[in-house]
Symmetry: D2
Subunit: 98 residues, 4 copies
């Protein structure tokens, strides 16, 4: 089952500068072979459901290893069985109507 | 890795009355053996990370089987390695300070 | 316009024990006169759209006053114009189908 | 109070092709004068808190006017008082560490 997701991950207990933690998660996501795109409040992720959630789990584990005692994520994840749709399809279907 | 999650799942393309779809997801979550608690905008879920995300995947699959061409979820999921914390601990830690 | 919302608010840069911050937000929400219900990963809020978002803004302001340099919220908010629906209606419409 | 937000808005009861509804929300956001950026699972929005939430309310109203009986949004919204930070700052602080 294909999925398009969006991950906003927040390490708690490590102060307010989260850039290096988010960068480490980006590296995890990129190494996973999934298609990803960073934006200002999260990261789009496209791939098989199992691969997407496995990569997100790995992000939690990496942040704990980096010293974060708590990690909280907000994940949007969508699946559809009527047709194949990519991240690019989704933005294009809006942009072509503007 | 233990997780506490909150799932807000929305089937698209099946009209506005979503009660029967959400009820079916509740049945999936309860059969999974995870601890769950329904509220007005989602369901709290407590358990092992892998079991939690497997149950959520099954909810997507069930809604597709019921006829929803698209399913979109908003998931909050938290992990902590400093100590064990249950859903009840979380609400109690707030309520005892009110 | 009536709204049913769910607020998950996270102060950043104040450590991992967030109970006292969440409790203070609960006090803000209760004083606002809105109907609220705390759960393990957020708080349901029911009322007029403007009152709901004003109360959430006040929660951010209060957490900043308490010393949090950053505050990040995840808010679910729903409106409907086909009929009146309360938080209790929402949970009941699922529970009666279980 | 400045805010950076991310809006994922879903009209319910209007089928599965949501592109024209999301495009109409994009027009509302752009007319509002706020800085926005569309991605595959939502739209980043930057501006004063009151302007951001007013624009989101208008998006709900517009979708109802277009015929959606129900509208459900997932909103991430962050504020910080330690320093000024833009959407571009947020992505740059991650990208320069990759």
């Amino acid at each position: 089952m294909k999925a398009i997701a969006d991950l906003c991950i927040v390490p708690l207990g490590v102060g307010v500068s989260l850039g290096k933690y988010i960068a480490e998660c980006e590296r995890v996501l990129r190494k996973s072979g999934l298609k990803t795109r960073l934006h200002a409040y999260g990261t789009n992720i496209e791939g098989e459901w199992d691969d997407v959630v496995a990569a997100i789990k790995q992000c939690h584990e990496v942040l704990h290893t980096m010293g974060a005692p708590r990690v909280s994520s907000d994940i949007r994840i969508g699946t559809r069985v009527d047709r194949v749709q990519t991240m690019d399809d989704k933005t294009r279907s809006v942009e072509e109507k503007l």
